[in-house]
């Protein structure tokens, strides 16, 4: 089975300007996330963020068939945003992507900014804020919450694919008319897998440890203040 890992941009695919400019929003988002996670110096957040990053890395090994012998795999930005809140999720995703670049040479060092933006920041902010904004509008029901989570997960994958396409096209590597439909076509399916996994995962967390879902109880203003202190529980 051929795996679609094409979202990791390697070195050399982006023009110098595009690669350099992508670092700006990526580092800004990570800086805000780091500030939010230290806002109240809740120290246990450091290991929590570390294990969440390790979890996302491992969960990306869960692959599912798409079509024609290809498979996609779980990306996790949406789930991270739901569990950690949008900005802190940016930090966790940036850690995952940096480990992939430095430990496995997966994704270029110069494209690290672009990869963090496409696979982490865009999805995490989109899903995180979507969940927070819609929470007050919709009836407080499990079904509505899960529906938004699923839609957000699909949108996050599509937005990341679109951003990748635009970066490649602006870099004059591929024409937009070729890369955008191709990327969006494949990722419409990858996104469905992402949505199904995210909904099932969020549903199961809601059933077992609803206290771990950051975007459920925090208001926009409190965002990033606290992640509940976990109770020791047997694994």
């Amino acid at each position: 089975m051929f795996e679609l890992l094409a979202l990791h941009i390697p070195d050399g695919f982006l023009s110098n300007w595009v690669a350099a400019l992508c670092w700006l929003p990526a580092t800004a988002a990570v800086a805000i996330g780091l500030r939010k996670s230290t806002a109240e110096l809740i120290e246990p957040r450091i290991p929590v963020l570390g294990v969440t990053a390790a979890f996302i890395f491992a969960a990306q090994m869960l692959n599912f068939p798409i079509a024609g012998g290809t498979s996609g795999h779980f990306l996790g930005a949406a789930l991270a945003a739901i569990l950690l809140g949008p900005w802190v999720a940016c930090v966790a995703m940036a850690v995952v992507i940096a480990i992939q670049a430095f430990l496995f040479a997966d994704g270029g060092i110069t494209a690290l900014g672009a990869n963090t933006l496409n696979m982490g920041v865009i999805g995490a902010l989109l899903v995180g804020y979507l969940m927070l904004w819609t929470r007050d509008l919709l009836p407080k029901r499990r079904g509505a919450f899960l529906a938004i989570a699923g839609a957000g997960a699909w949108l996050a994958v599509m937005a990341g694919a679109a951003a990748t396409s635009f970066e490649l096209a602006i870099s004059d590597t591929v024409p937009l008319g070729t890369v955008l439909p191709a990327m969006l076509g494949v990722h419409a399916l990858v996104g469905i897998g992402e949505a199904i996994i995210t909904v099932a995962a969020v549903g199961a967390v809601l059933a077992t440890r609803p206290d771990l879902i950051a975007v459920r109880d925090l208001t926009l203003r409190e965002l990033g203040r606290s992640l509940p202190t976990p109770t020791p529980e047997g694994a």
Binding site: M1, D11, T38, G50, M61, A98, F104, L189
Partner: protein, 261 residues
């Protein structure tokens, strides 16, 4: 379910002669060297072949000094490079510009071929450079180097925790995949992906509980926000010589040759 990922973590860690001059360098020197090679290779215009050859020679010299056999580099690069080349191989057919070449039913362009060759060369240098850094430097050293190079300390701490848990969490996910397979889980279409969501949750809850247990254990053993470092980083003369050699080779090549083509 593919098994390709099983080998991924085995293909990390030190390789070659751990006592070599390269292995003993300060991680900052090696990180700056890697960034230097990559930035020079990536920033060069397409058709700047001499620059890439110089970059490749620098990488080969590093690998030779560290006694890393080509086979090791190849085995590690093989995980990533085919995907990169696969993505790039479409370029000659979709990128307009230059003369066109007819190959059967397909039309290639010379501009596209040039982009394909350039992109492949840059990506290969990037991947091999990162592989060499990983083969000569432990990941905790890389993190210490990044911290010394002003990457925020909190980010480095989180990455260090992530790395510490990575292997157990990956083991856990492998056991879960084996459990799925032994219960005849063979997803044939997207509708079967839901089970993976529940696996992801079980994985998350176990990881979370484990992280909490380990953290409390660390606190009870005196952890106060940073790991004790037995050997402080020191940027010695060997590091300065290494960087001077790398930069002294690359920058003139980039400026002189890169500008000429």
């Amino acid at each position: 379910m593919s098994v390709g990922c099983n080998h991924m973590l085995e293909l990390t860690g030190l390789a070659g002669d751990p006592a070599s001059a390269i292995h003993r360098l300060d991680p900052r020197a090696k990180l700056m060297g890697l960034i230097g090679v990559t930035v020079v290779a990536v920033s060069a215009p397409f058709s700047a072949w001499p620059v890439w050859i110089v970059c490749a020679c620098v990488l080969a010299a590093v690998a030779g000094t560290a006694r890393i056999r080509p086979r090791v580099v190849w085995r590690r690069a093989r995980v990533i490079l085919p995907l990169v080349i696969f993505a790039a191989v479409f370029l000659p057919f979709v990128r307009p510009g230059g003369e066109t070449i007819e190959i059967g039913p397909f039309t290639m362009t010379t501009a596209g071929l040039e982009t394909f060759a350039g992109v492949s060369a840059k990506a290969t240098i990037g991947v091999v450079g990162a592989v060499l850094l990983g083969a000569t430097t432990t990941f905790p050293s890389v993190l210490r180097g990044l911290e010394a190079l002003r990457v925020p300390r909190l980010f480095v701490l989180i990455a260090a925790f992530a790395y510490r848990y990575l292997f157990v969490v990956v083991d856990e996910v492998q056991r879960m995949r084996a459990a799925l397979a032994s219960r005849a889980y063979r997803p044939r279409n997207l509708r079967h992906a839901g089970a993976l969501g529940r696996v992801a949750t079980a994985l998350f809850l176990r990881t979370y509980a484990r992280g909490e247990r380990v953290y409390l254990a660390m606190l009870s053993r005196g952890y106060a926000g940073s790991m004790p470092q037995l050997e402080p980083l020191s940027f010695a003369r060997a590091d300065a010589v290494f960087l001077a050699l790398v930069v002294g080779t690359l920058v003139p090549a980039r400026v002189l040759i890169g500008a000429a083509v």
